[in-house]
């Protein structure tokens, strides 16, 4: 069999293991080494709602160009437990490789308790069909027959040798380095210089000298052990390239950075997956350097407060916003359900409150750690009564960063609760990006009265809810002399006092709702949507989507274009106010429109129908809790194109 090198700097690597065993850190160390070598990465992180034990896995795709999604196939599966091997061996493509502990070969599949019975039965049936035993040996043999390379790594021997070298007699203390051993062995077969790994280890365990030392020694031994097994070069190779400095980060971190740059100075939260990571990042970066301020040497700080529940989180953030501080709360589906009354109050009192909402699988507790875009219609209509709100959806890391700044600008300029809508995939996936710019989006505070004013000047009392043409009233904050005001959840007059007069009601409702028209007029088009044009004049297919499907759609578009299919992609970012005219115009002239969404019913398609009367007839949806891959979109779009009438709704199911 020819084993020519197939691919340089283009592969998908996966690791897995019991939750809490260092799966995340090994993936981050792997990705970090790749980025230090100038390469680009995209990381897919999948985990259970549990602290220790259940299986989690992390897929890192590496490329010499920027990539935005994961793929279906795994080229290198680096395992250090039997379960990862049993669950994922099937995903390894011919020509790929599996690294495993040779002592696992006799483990029976049905003896691994953490694998769910349906999965056990499915795998055993698959092996039985091929006359293979229902154990790890069977799994390995199956992979071998498919042309997968097997690399047994004697982890226990390596750990014992490492222990001897550092003079540690308790082997159990060293067992946790096994994840790094698997990373190092991977780099050995990939022909990637071990110095990158050592640098990455040094960063990951910065300040822990002893941990760095034991990992480095173990890594060296694992590297040599794997290398000695290479009879021929492995078909996938990684070569370092020169590159600019880049960030390796998760969506929650991109948003947290954007929030701080955008002036967020109060964040309240109640712990919830996957939103809480953002608040923790903010808290651990609570004091930061500022430059160009009026007081040299001054530091900035953000107050992060963990509240007793999400009702307290939204009401506290709203109270903070009334003082002029930029304030936000961050949550996920169940938390937002609780916040709804506070949302209505902020709408009624025109408070510039920002909510970062991370969608996860619903309803109820749903799939707490899994991906979904199922909250769009809820977010658009949450709370009783009618009031305006901004809803902005980001599609990737860079957008998340800049939108996290913009959402505060919108909130203050249009004086309404503003929701930054994210999803679990974007929150937890990691990606290499060029550093965003702190000054690309200036801070705009709208009609906020600033500075030390003593009174209105004209002898008239200040009216917080003064009727204006654009619906937006000059906004004073608590404690501002001469600008006394009142707020109430009741319908109110211009002063903010309760008023049930029908004429006032009509004027006040109209004032509030007018602000949405103002926002629609003032927000630039390129902040409302992205449009990716096809390479040929007339597209064969028009994809309409929103949120983190942006990444795999853009990556799949390249493949489709290579096949000669003209694809254009309308990514809707601002859902309230909705860019009705643009969407209408783009979709009306389209040959074939496909709505791609990570929910059951096609919620954006429903919004499009409501706003434009255009029926998105073809949909690709996914609701198994796992994000879409580049390959899934590529294949399903082709499937729809091949026969649109027979493929009105394609349901994607990839992912473990």
């Amino acid at each position: 069999m020819s084993r020519a090198i197939a691919k340089v700097n283009d592969l998908s690597w996966m690791t897995g293991g019991p939750q809490g065993s260092g799966v995340d850190s090994s993936a981050n160390i792997f990705a970090g080494a790749c980025v230090l070598g100038g390469l680009w990465t995209f990381g897919l992180r999948e985990y259970y709602s549990s602290i220790k034990g259940p299986h989690s896995y992390f897929e890192v795709r590496v490329n010499s160009d920027k990539i935005r999604s994961h793929v279906n196939n795994v080229d290198v599966l680096a395992t250090f437990d039997a379960e990862t091997l049993i669950r994922h061996a099937e995903e390894v493509a011919p020509g790929g490789g599996i690294l495993y502990d040779p002592t696992f070969s006799n483990i029976e599949i049905d003896k691994v308790e953490s694998i769910e019975t349906p999965v056990v039965l499915r795998i055993k049936a698959r092996l039985a069909k091929q006359n293979l035993p229902g154990n790890v040996t069977g799994i390995l043999e199956e992979a071998k027959r498919r042309g997968v390379n097997l690399y047994p790594i004697p982890y226990n021997d390596i750990i014992a040798k490492t222990a001897a070298q550092i003079g540690e007699h308790q082997l159990s203390k060293l067992s946790r380095i096994v994840n790094v051993l698997s990373v190092s062995a991977s780099f050995a077969i990939l022909g990637f210089n071990e110095n990158f790994l050592n640098q990455s280890i040094g960063r990951a365990f910065a300040g822990k000298k002893k941990v760095v030392e034991m990992n480095e020694i173990g890594a060296k031994l694992a590297y040599d052990a794997a290398k000695s097994q290479l009879k021929q070069p492995f078909p996938f190779q990684l070569h370092p390239i020169q590159n600019q400095p880049r960030l390796l980060l998760m969506g929650v971190e991109a948003i947290a950075l954007g929030k701080l740059v955008g002036g967020c100075r109060v964040q309240t939260y109640y712990p919830i997956t996957p939103a809480a990571d953002e608040s923790e990042f903010l808290e651990s970066h609570g004091n930061f350097d500022i430059s160009g301020g009026n007081n040299p040497g001054q530091k900035g700080s953000i107050l992060v407060t963990q509240t007793e529940d999400e009702i307290a989180a939204i009401t506290m953030a709203t109270g903070a916003a009334l003082t002029g501080a930029r304030a936000a709360t961050s949550t996920s589906g169940p938390g937002f359900s609780l916040m709804v009354e506070g949302l209505g109050w902020a709408g009624m009192n025109e408070v510039p409150l920002v909510i970062t909402h991370y969608q996860r699988g619903g309803p109820a507790t749903g799939q707490p750690t899994r991906h979904e875009q199922g909250d769009l219609k809820f977010i658009l209509s949450a709370a009783h009564g009618e009031f305006p709100r901004i809803v902005l959806c980001s599609g990737d890391m860079e957008e998340s960063f800049y939108d996290a700044i913009r959402i505060f600008n919108y909130a203050e300029r249009f004086q309404m609760p503003s929701i930054h809508l994210i999803d679990k995939g974007l929150a937890n996936n990691s990606m290499t990006i060029s550093p965003p710019k702190a000054d690309l989006v200036p801070i705009q505070r709208g009609k906020l009265i600033q500075g030390d004013h003593l009174g209105n000047g004209n002898g008239e009392p200040y009216r917080r809810f003064a009727f204006t043409e654009d619906g937006v009233s000059p906004r004073a904050v608590l404690g501002m002399p001469g600008y006394r005001f009142w707020n109430t959840g009741d319908e109110h007059d211009e002063m903010g006092h309760i008023e049930e007069d029908p004429d006032n009601r009509v004027k006040m409702m109209t004032k509030r709702m007018t602000k949405l028209d103002t926002a629609a007029k003032e927000i630039p088009e390129d902040e409302k949507f992205n449009f990716f044009a096809p390479s040929k004049k007339q597209a064969d297919v028009t994809i309409v989507s929103w949120g983190s499907t942006k990444g795999p759609i853009l990556d799949a578009m390249k493949l489709l274009e290579k096949d000669g299919i003209g694809v254009e992609f309308l990514q809707i970012r601002l859902v309230s106010p909705f860019p009705t005219e643009t969407v209408k115009q783009k979709l009306a002239r389209a040959k074939l429109v496909i709505g791609i969404e990570q929910n059951y019913s096609g919620q954006m398609a429903a919004v499009i129908a409501e706003k434009t009367m255009i029926d998105v007839k073809n949909k690709i949806v996914k609701f198994n809790g796992r994000p879409m891959s580049q390959d899934e979109i590529y294949q399903s779009v082709k499937q729809v194109i091949s026969n649109p009438a027979q493929n009105r709704r394609v349901v994607l199911t990839h992912g473990a």
């Binding site: 980025v35 500022i290 307290a312 939204i314 930029r326 710019k437 404690g479 959840g489």
Partner: protein, 330 residues
């Protein structure tokens, strides 16, 4: 210019029932504001939902009338973002001890420097007289179809258990006393609760003004009613905890608070039940983490330069996420 009572009046029509205890609380609060060394421009009143919570509209100070049970969320958020504000929260017993009791408990844990007055009349007035959490078991006020089936919450004991550092009780028609309690609560460094007992002339026909005033109990000697409330001031009671006390002394005083808070019926103590200034306030705890917090709190931080560009140094902030590509010696 000294603040006068008339300065605190608004044009808003007051729609409380004649004889409502809310009037006494409003008057006491306004008197306290005129007598305290506070800048009225820095005073922010927050209220929940219910008759009592309309108080903010009748008072000429920043007034935030929030949601049922949520007054403490809004009030604490404002105080945290701008510690210069003098934040005073008001609300009913149903608001604070029914729907909002979770927030009540956790506010105690934080010990934010603010005051909270509960209008405590045992009923939900605006919804026509249902039993509130402070109505005692078995009592049947006017509009209840059956006697109250639940036991009552003791707000003072709950406050103690939750970590409030100032706990007082007063009576709406003893405005002089209530005014003094408000002044003490505002001056207290930490979270201060005043349980303000008040009659509801429309729905609570048991704990009436006459009942509190003891008109059913005529002193045979003086032929005058014997009021049920009595002032702790002037008795031997001392609910203060100070830094120099031993653990045993602290325990002794805490037990005393519990004991005193259980007195009810013919003798109802009013006054300061508990005051403890040895617990650090939340703002100080934050300042330990964010040393610039008190000097430059969230509401006062400069966010942008004159050209609108953010002042945040993103390079330093994102240092931990930045990877420079490594040059290897060949």
């Amino acid at each position: 210019m000294a603040l006068k009572l008339t300065d605190l009046k608004t044009d808003v029509h007051n729609d409380w029932c004649p004889g409502c205890g809310d009037f006494g609380i409003e008057a006491s609060l306004k008197m306290a504001l005129t007598e305290m060394p506070v800048d009225i421009n820095k005073v922010a009143l927050f209220s929940g939902i219910g008759c009592s919570s309309k108080l903010v509209h009748f008072t000429n100070a920043f007034g935030i009338h929030t949601l049922h049970g949520r007054v403490l969320g809004y009030a604490q958020g404002a105080k945290l973002a701008n510690p210069d504000l003098e934040v005073i929260a008001v609300g009913g017993d149903g608001d604070g001890l029914g729907i909002g009791v979770g927030h009540f408990v956790h506010a105690g844990r934080r010990n934010i420097d603010m005051a909270y007055i509960i209008h405590d009349n045992g009923v939900y007035g605006l919804t026509k007289g249902q039993a509130s959490p402070t109505l005692h078991l078995g009592m049947q006020t006017k509009s209840l179809p059956e006697p109250n089936i639940n036991s009552n919450i003791n707000p003072l004991m709950l406050a103690l258990a939750s970590g409030f550092t100032f706990i007082a009780r007063s009576y709406a028609y003893n405005t002089r006393h209530l005014k003094e309690m408000i002044k003490k609560a505002v001056a207290h460094k930490g979270f201060a609760l005043i349980d303000a007992l008040q009659p509801c002339p429309t729905y609570n026909d048991i704990n009436t003004k006459e009942w509190y005033g003891g008109e059913d109990r005529i002193d045979p000697a003086t032929k005058r009613p014997m009021a049920r409330t009595y002032d702790l001031e002037g008795t031997e009671y001392n609910g203060r905890i100070t830094a120099d006390m031993s653990g045993d002394e602290v325990d002794k005083n805490l037990l005393q608070v519990i004991e005193k808070s259980r007195e009810w019926g013919d003798k109802i103590p009013i006054g300061v039940f508990y005051q403890n200034e040895t617990v650090p306030i939340y703002g100080e705890r934050i300042n330990e983490r964010n040393p610039s917090y008190l000097k430059e709190p969230p509401a006062r931080q400069q966010l942008a330069k004159n050209d609108g560009k953010s002042v945040v140094n993103l390079d330093n902030l994102s240092k931990g996420l930045l990877f420079e590509s490594l040059v290897l010696a060949q």
